[in-house]
């Protein structure tokens, strides 16, 4: 029976090629749009998280704050080698760990000044640094020398600096005095999205000197796991383990460290050292929100378009039911139950829905594949924003299948109402109808 039902549904669709092609095409277009926008967002997210988890955060970070008075705060982990040792023992998932200084300074060139979030790095021990940083001028290796800094293109432009030029960093220390240091631009790297707008890299010991810190002090330990999905679990485990080892550990809070440094920590009533274990998601919370907003906008757009498609389905079925009134009546008269009439119309729409969404997915895959292969370069302004140089779609089969199924399901749901009306047609009305 299902075979015959499918045949009836399929042939009825085929009988009105033009209007069903139109409807199926609209559904395909919405599907393709949803899949492509989803893949674009996923591509951005993946690119951003990839550069972020190298430049700004590890998969898990063990950072901390040191407060001399309860009203002040410095982003510090003192005696970090001991912390690192304790951490290594508790994280078998660890791929590698890096140590980063954290600071904030006013960068002053001859004419201009700007605020920079500084990360103190030891380039020799940063295995993935060169993969995500595109040095356009100078040399990344030179950043190993004391008194050097790496700027991003935008910053170099703003400060009117070139490689080997010198700039002055002026940093507020914990004691309330401003320390200054002259540093040389070792390298200029291509912008990587929003990250590069405000952050720069400085040789680790130079950062310590700027703040007058001991060699055993750093800003944070970045942990890179073999599988980033373990991050939340590892972070939770570390919080307990470090607390048991006698460290004071802060409650988890999904905020980047500099937000805590500026807002929450100085208002808390304690002094001394506390450790803060965070994940990449915590540190990148605002970017995640941006991605979420993008998803919401995509969703709204798709909802609006689907409303149009649903109206199309309602309309088309209304026409089909009017055209087939006699036929439906005759079938009801020879003994077809109401729910069978309903089923035939729903099946017809389901078939259209599946064909339409499948076509949409096919188009989206073709477009995404072609664009990825062509490596279309994004305009500079967009690059900064998207944290990507090239337009790249990240295709996730699970997400694509879910998109297609949801849209097909909406189409089917839309058909239920008119199909019920068809099922309620009295067989006798159908027979009187002379068409």
């Amino acid at each position: 029976m299902l075979g015959v039902d499918l045949m009836i549904a399929g042939r009825n669709l085929a009988r009105h090629t033009r209007r069903n092609l139109f409807l199926g095409g609209a559904l395909a277009a919405v599907t393709a749009l949803l899949v492509l926008l989803g893949a674009l967002t996923a591509g951005m997210e993946s690119a951003m998280m990839q550069s972020a988890t190298t430049l700004m955060t590890g998969h898990v970070n063990v950072g901390g704050f040191f407060k001399i008075t309860s009203g002040s705060a410095a982003p510090l982990v003192s005696q970090y080698p001991r912390v690192l040792e304790a951490v290594r023992a508790k994280v078998p998932e660890l791929d590698y760990a890096t140590v980063r200084g954290r600071g904030w300074a006013k960068a002053v060139s001859e004419h201009v000044s700007m605020d920079l979030v500084l990360a103190g790095v030891d380039v020799a021990h940063e295995p993935t640094f060169r993969k995500v940083l595109h040095v356009v001028d100078g040399d990344l290796e030179a950043l190993a020398q004391p008194g050097t800094v790496l700027l991003f293109e935008g910053q170099a432009e703003r400060l009117k600096l070139k490689v080997n030029d010198v700039l002055t960093l002026s940093a507020p220390t914990a004691r309330g005095v401003n320390n200054t240091a002259d540093v040389r631009v070792a390298a200029i790297a291509r912008n990587v999205g929003l990250l590069s707008a405000f952050s720069a890299f400085i040789q680790a010991d130079t950062l310590r000197e700027l703040y007058g810190l001991s060699p055993a002090t750093t800003g944070a330990i970045h942990l890179y796991l073999r599988d980033p999905r373990d991050a939340a679990r590892v972070a939770a485990r570390l919080r307990t383990a470090l607390a048991e080892a006698g460290y004071r550990v802060m409650e988890p809070e999904a905020q980047p460290y500099w937000m805590k440094l500026m807002q929450t920590v100085p208002s808390e009533d304690w002094t001394g050292q506390k450790l803060d274990v965070t994940t990449a998601d915590d540190e990148m919370g605002q970017f995640k929100q941006f991605i979420l907003a993008l998803r919401v906008v995509t969703g709204l757009l798709v909802v609006i378009l689907m409303v149009v498609v649903v109206i199309g389905i309602l309309n088309t079925l209304a026409i089909a039911i009017r055209e087939r009134t006699r036929e439906i009546g005759a079938l009801r008269a020879i003994g077809m139950q109401r729910r069978k009439v309903l089923w035939l119309f729903v099946l017809e729409t389901a078939l259209l829905g599946l064909l339409g969404t499948a076509a949409g997915v096919a188009v989206a895959l073709a477009v995404a594949g072609a664009v990825n292969a062509a490596g279309i370069a994004l305009p500079e302004a967009v690059q900064v924003f998207l944290a990507q140089e090239r337009l790249r779609f990240l295709l996730d089969p699970g997400a694509i299948a879910a998109d297609a199924l949801v849209l097909a399901a909406i189409a089917v749901a839309a058909s239920v109402f008119p199909a019920r009306r068809a099922a309620r047609l009295k067989p006798v009305t159908a027979m009187h109808h002379v068409g």
């Binding site: 009836i8 009988r15 006699r326 008269a333 020879i334 009295k426 027979m431």
Partner: protein, 237 residues
């Protein structure tokens, strides 16, 4: 023993705010194996009566009993079942499913009934297509057939479930007189061979002549009932 019993049935239609009485206090009993013709001018109530007997409409007053069941007491589902298993319909304008082949159209009621193998269905359908003389068109679509051929398909579809009762509303009205005659002969043969009860409406005197009984209806009332077989027997003696 009658297969259909119509008892004091009236049917009013609402046309806007005016009541159109289509049947007025009609009573009629149809015995098993009858080949009954309902004759009357256009608008006299033939279709209305057949619709009530066929359980596709409900009377305004009175009772309709089909195969021993009071149709007023049956649910929509049960009525549909009754139509599927007990009644065969032949419509004036054929009403075949345009997207199915001749074979599939005739097979369709069997599929709705369920409970038969594909082979059993195929045998029954092909035998019937053969009997109504359109076996060679089994794979064609209805749109590829002439009116007479389509009506044969409709007859085959009505008979394929071996219903006890077949209702035909002016089955020859859309056909030329020769084709119409053939169709009546075909129905008559089925009636004779299987004892299927036929009730058909017509206003063609040539068609009426074949009936075993003739009910005349005028202005929503039965004006006469003649037992033509009895008359023939009497005339032949």
């Amino acid at each position: 023993m009658s297969i259909v019993s119509v008892e004091h049935v009236s049917k009013d239609y609402m046309l806007g705010k005016t009541v159109v009485p289509a049947l007025r206090d009609v009573s009629l009993a149809v015995g098993k194996g009858e080949f009954l013709s309902i004759a009357g001018p256009s608008g006299s109530g033939k279709t209305t009566l057949l619709n009530l007997v066929g359980c596709v409409d409900t009377p305004s007053a009175g009772r309709v009993i089909v195969a021993g069941q009071d149709t007023a007491r049956l649910s929509e589902r049960a009525l549909t079942e009754l139509r599927l298993r007990t009644i065969g319909f032949i419509f004036q304008s054929f009403n075949l499913v345009s997207v199915l082949s001749v074979f599939q159209n005739v097979e369709f009621p069997l599929l709705l009934q369920g409970g038969q193998t594909r082979k059993e269905r195929a045998e029954r359908v092909l035998a019937l297509l053969d009997a109504v003389g359109i076996a060679e068109h089994a794979r064609h679509r209805p749109s590829e057939l002439s009116g007479g051929q389509r009506q044969r398909v409709a007859i085959a579809r009505a008979l394929v479930t071996r219903p006890a009762l077949v209702l035909a509303d002016e089955p020859t009205a859309n056909l030329d007189s020769e084709t119409g005659g053939n169709i009546i002969d075909l129905m008559k043969e089925m009636n004779r061979r299987d004892g299927t009860t036929f009730i058909f409406s017509t206003h063609d005197p040539k068609v009426m002549a074949h009936a075993s009984a003739l009910v005349r209806i005028e202005d929503g009332r039965i004006s006469s009932r003649e037992d033509l077989d009895a008359a023939r027997r009497a005339g032949g003696r």
